[in-house]
């Protein structure tokens, strides 16, 4: 489990994250949602230490990450897998080398064991047989899946996903969402997803934090989010024409 307590972050005179607290549960897909620029990616980066927190705590199984020394932080990071918005695959390496990279760095596996693990991960994300392709030869969806394969290569305890559906068509988005959810359950990971995609929210949102103006505005799950509980959340959830129709349908049914 990961818990954030009263975290704050300021860039210049902009207070981007304000006293945010939340618990992210193991074996669940935990979502951080909110409109663009509300601070959700910053929260994610504060949690993994890409930005230092100004104040507050980030507990990984009770250990306060920002207060750990460099070695302690590295030990926790070895248990983290991350899917970046753009994939962040290493351009000069093939798909196989990309997925093998964390194994090269942190395990003493033999060549055969590494290849077996790489093939297992690629098969999990339905990219088996694409070992020798370079990132430039992959489509957007394939890049995300490849990045996911690299993220799970070292059997992480925590999986962070920064907008895994951005730039993807609805069908591919659905595939990515299903993959993340299945992997979360199969490997019993604590998965944290930053998104503003409502399909993901109502599809895989086991535990949701709605961020508005850098603050934790609402918490709940995918069954509760469609109920009008506050105006800001309502405006966010039912912003699209499609979701407005869903809302009408829900009302008519009631």
């Amino acid at each position: 489990m990961i818990e954030i307590k009263n975290i704050n972050k300021t860039f210049g005179d902009r207070h981007v994250v304000q006293n945010v607290s939340f618990q992210f549960h193991q074996g669940k897909t935990n979502l951080i949602i909110g409109e663009s620029g509300c601070g959700k990616t910053t929260i994610l980066k504060l949690m993994v230490g890409l930005h230092p927190v100004d104040s507050g705590s980030v507990f990984y199984e009770g250990q306060d990450f920002p207060k750990l020394d460099e070695k302690g932080q590295q030990e926790i990071r070895k248990k983290i897998g991350m899917l970046f918005q753009g994939g962040a695959l290493f351009d000069s390496q093939t798909l196989e080398e990309n997925v093998r990279f964390p194994l090269d760095m942190f395990t003493d596996f033999s060549k055969e064991e590494k290849l077996e693990r790489v093939n297992f991960c690629l098969q999990k994300v339905k990219l088996d047989g694409k070992n020798k392709l370079y990132p430039a030869e992959l489509s957007g969806g394939m890049k995300k899946r490849a990045s996911l394969a690299r993220a799970i290569a070292n059997s992480p305890k925590y999986l962070f996903c920064d907008e895994p559906n951005s730039g993807l068509d609805p069908k591919t988005s659905l595939i990515i969402d299903e993959l993340i959810q299945n992997l979360t359950i199969e490997f019993n990971m604590t998965t944290i997803i930053v998104t503003h995609d409502m399909n993901s929210v109502v599809g895989i949102g086991d535990n949701i934090m709605f961020v508005h103006k850098g603050q934790n505005w609402w918490t709940g799950d995918k069954t509760q989010i469609l109920n009008k509980s506050n105006q800001e959340l309502f405006d966010f959830v039912f912003a699209s024409e499609f979701m407005k129709k869903v809302y009408k349908g829900l009302h008519q049914a009631q």
Binding site: G49, K78, M82, A88, D91, F101, M105
Partner: protein, 247 residues
Amino acid sequence: MKPLYYIGQYFMLMRLVFKKPQKYRVYLRQIIFEIDNIGISSLPIVAIISVFMGGIITIQAAFGFESPWVPIYAVGFTARESVVLEFSSTILCLILAGKVGSNIASEIGAMRITEQIDALEIMGINSASYLIFPKVAAAVLIFPFLTAISMFLGIYGGYVMGVSAEACTPYQYIYGIQYSFQPWKLYYAFTKTIVFAVIITSVSSYCGYYTKGGALEVGRSSTNAVVYSSILILLFAVIITNLFFNH
């Protein structure tokens, strides 16, 4: 106060770069890759420039000596001194700062803006050490070889041009390049090369590592890498020359 900030930031980065490697085997593989990437791929340009520069120095010396008191073998002597003392160490490294420095800064800069460096950090890898140390080590290992090859080709280019232009005979040229040879000048040249290898790779990596923004900024980092490396090469050339020649 900005320059002090950048100097501090550079040394903080170098502190991370020279930390104990996390996996020696991976680093060794990277060093071998970088030797090829930085050194072997620079051989053609080093060879071409060295041969032509050696030839040009020889012809200028041959037709520039108008006094009958200057012996003809001085042509070979001049070519050797120019190539060994300055061309194959300082000028060659200025050229490599353009080729290798811009390459390193743009490579690391592109990795920064596409979150590849963040990906390394999140995996628990010391990204500065993993990306920069193999480049510095590779350059320190391979640049002296490039310098040695450049010295040989520069002097050989001078021989070919000098003899074919009938500025001197083969005997006079070979006598000239052997005349009053002082081995410590080779130490001087190779010392400069090693220092410049560290400057080019570390400064260029620094410029790339702290790139912020997009493609435009990657280009700017690449330009900065060449400019700062060149200025530092010249500055350290003066310092090292003073140290060697004043004692």
